[in-house]
């Protein structure tokens, strides 16, 4: 264990590993430590026995199949095919270590049933999601979005999306509340209805992200790494290691050391390691974070595809809050053996939502989602606290990542990575084109 590093990173979650990779590539001497014996922290994918021992404290039943055929994500997320996360993968060339597959379909729950989010104009014409009367209005709305150009007022139709709210935009096109749910929740993936009275630009950009991502591969806007999300932090850890990053797993952090309120090093198993700054997830800095919410996530093992999805091997289902009278949407993310995360014949579905009422039984918050799954072989319920750092790290040189939120993709994670990068290095992270490839790699 070398004694002096430029950066110590605590935890091997996705945010920490991306930063580790970026900083190592820039020539920083990085030591990354995790108290767990596996990579990924809260973005890990667990084998079946790891999953059972974490949540049930015992071994998995044999009937479920082989332990290592399972790679079960703790946090359900997919990557938007044309989102910033894919740009970061491409920029760092971590795409070399990973295989991605499409998510087969995206669904939305309306009027008591689930319907496919149309992926083409033909599908849209046939879709039961919009009434016959509503279709021309929706078409006009999408044409408006598609043609909108911030620099060309003639495309604005009198609505400046920097100032106009989505409520005004919806009103202009006379869209029904069901259509609003569809646009705001199934396409823009807003978690609740707070967006409606905010400037429309943010939602406009989210709709564009969805539509552009969908255009990439066609079935859904989402892609997913073969062997599970746990591959993502490992891919960046690998990048970091290639550039000299040192890794220690299964290593407790006994004490974080400060001098005059400034980080100087850590103590682990009797050894002291020093560095100029530390990066880590909230679990390593409980005294420097605040709780901002809770997400309940119920991991379900199924022995069939989710009903009414055309036997899809993978899906996302959005249940908009208004459809079930809640204050937040419920998401279902399902993957299976075609992504090498279960043995064949089994599916994983993770049902999640922001906790509205912390005093009630957490599982009841997602009841509407669980009801769509059909028979459930096994359920693992976890309620995760969401934390944010109390300070920027400028004073104490402690840079803490945000917890992984309830969104269904990695765009907010990327925003956090970029924000941390800026706070740490003082410069903006530019994600443009590839960083220099190592010449000894093909």
């Amino acid at each position: 264990m070398d004694q002096q590093y430029d950066v110590i990173i605590l935890g091997t979650g996705l945010t920490e590993c991306i930063l580790s990779g970026l900083l190592s590539v820039e020539g920083k001497k990085v030591l990354q430590i995790d108290r767990n014996e596996y990579y990924g922290s809260s973005t890990a994918s667990l084998h079946l026995n790891q999953l059972y021992s974490k949540f049930k404290g015992d071994a998995a039943p044999e009937a479920l199949g082989k332990d290592r055929d399972y790679n079960v994500d703790l946090i359900p997320k997919f990557a938007m095919a044309s989102g910033e996360f894919v740009n970061i993968l491409y920029h760092t060339d971590v795409t070399r270590y990973l295989e991605f597959k499409q998510i087969a379909g995206s669904y939305v729950y309306t009027n008591g049933q689930i319907s496919k989010v149309p992926t083409s104009t033909t599908e849209a014409a046939l879709s039961p999601l919009l009434s016959l009367l509503e279709k021309p209005r929706a078409k006009a709305f999408f044409e408006f979005i598609q043609n909108y150009d911030f620099t060309n007022p003639s495309t604005h139709d009198g609505l400046d999306l920097n100032t106009a709210t989505m409520r005004e935009v919806y009103a202009k096109f006379g869209l029904e509340s069901g259509t609003q749910d569809f646009i705001g929740h199934a396409l823009a993936l807003e978690l609740n209805d707070e967006y409606i009275d905010k400037p429309a630009r943010a939602t406009y950009e989210k709709i564009c992200l969805y539509v552009n991502s969908l255009a990439m591969y066609g079935k859904s806007p989402y892609i997913y790494p073969v062997y599970g999300l746990g591959e993502l932090p490992q891919g960046f850890a690998r990048l970091s290691a290639i550039h000299g990053g040192t890794y220690m797993l299964n290593k407790p952090v006994d004490e974080v050391l400060y001098e005059n309120g400034k980080f100087v090093g850590i103590k682990s198993e009797g050894e002291t390691v020093k560095a100029n700054l530390v990066i880590g997830d909230a679990s390593y800095f409980q005294d420097k974070v605040k709780k901002v919410g809770q997400v309940v996530r119920v991991i379900c093992i199924l022995n069939h595809p989710i009903p009414d999805t055309g036997d899809a091997d993978s899906v996302q289902i959005v249940i908009p809050q208004n459809q079930i009278g809640r204050a937040h949407d419920i998401y279902i993310a399902s993957v299976s053996s075609s992504h090498n995360v279960t043995p064949s014949g089994h599916h994983i579905a993770i049902v999640s939502t922001l906790v509205t009422n912390p005093t009630t039984d957490a599982e009841s918050e997602v009841a509407a989602g669980l009801a769509l799954l059909g028979p459930i072989v096994e359920k693992f319920v976890h309620v995760d606290d969401l934390y944010e750092p109390l300070s920027s790290g400028a004073d104490d040189q402690v840079f803490i990542s945000k917890s992984y939120d309830a969104t269904s993709h990695f765009e907010t994670t990327c925003a956090d990575v970029k924000d941390l990068y800026k706070r740490i290095t003082g410069v903006e992270l530019k994600v443009e084109g590839k960083v220099a490839k190592l010449k000894d790699e093909e």
Binding site: A81, V86, T95, Q102, L249, D440
Partner: protein, 218 residues
């Protein structure tokens, strides 16, 4: 100096090379990089600097009528503290675990292997060779051949002693692995995998360019 390096493969017709991914594991300074350097370039450096991070090398070798392309991962940043990410060996078909015959074996990987063999990351379909390196330093030997051989037999590992310095038995390490690996099966499973690969996306081809992509068989 040994000359067991394969001549450049120029004779035609060329069979399609079979790719074999191999990872190198073992404690610092046992000679992992030197073994690869001997295998790939037929060179040896007396004062090879420790590997910073990891290095990736490829080497083709001919085995009877087949050509095998070894993709070799020589790592340090993760493996030094027995923290190698499963990703490294997930698609690896083979591993070389090296130790120094002049140093008492203390490789954590070996310990992990011996304590919980059912937990070690390689499934039986992977091929692991235990290699005692620095055979040229026979006079300083502290690890008896019999002991290592017995251990390897018990664990079901291939076993060789070799010297990256003289080149003695280095080629054999890799050809022994190549001989054991069922190459036909590897080729077959590869194409099966490609056929089953509907919905696979190739970000290397398409990211940034915005073009849609199809299959995975390059």
């Amino acid at each position: 100096m040994s000359t067991n390096q394969q001549p450049p493969t120029t004779s035609s017709p060329q069979p399609k090379p079979v790719q074999v991914k191999l990872v190198l594991l073992g404690e610092a300074a046992v000679g992992k990089s030197s073994l690869v350097l001997r295998f790939v370039n037929n060179e040896f450096h007396e004062n090879k600097e420790p590997t910073i991070g990891a290095a990736f090398l490829t080497q083709k070798c001919r085995l009877e009528d087949k050509i095998i392309k070894f993709e070799i991962w020589d790592t340090a940043g993760q493996e030094r503290f027995a923290s190698l990410a499963p990703m490294y060996y997930r698609n690896a078909q083979a591993a070389v675990v090296a130790y120094d015959i002049t140093k008492q074996v203390s490789c954590p990987f070996l310990h992990a292997l011996s304590k919980t063999p059912q937990k070690h990351p390689f499934k039986p379909k992977h091929y692991i060779a235990l290699v005692g390196n620095k055979l040229d330093l026979e006079s300083e030997r502290t690890v008896p051949t019999e002991e290592a051989q017995a251990y390897a037999t018990e664990q079901g590992l291939l076993f060789t002693e070799a010297s990256a310095k003289t080149g003695e038995y280095v080629m054999e390490v890799f050809t022994e692995i190549a001989k054991k690996i069922p190459l036909e099966q590897l080729l077959a499973s590869r194409s099966r995998w490609c056929r089953a690969g509907s919905g696979r996306v190739d970000l290397n081809q398409t990211a940034g360019s915005g073009a849609a992509a199809g299959g995975c068989c390059q």
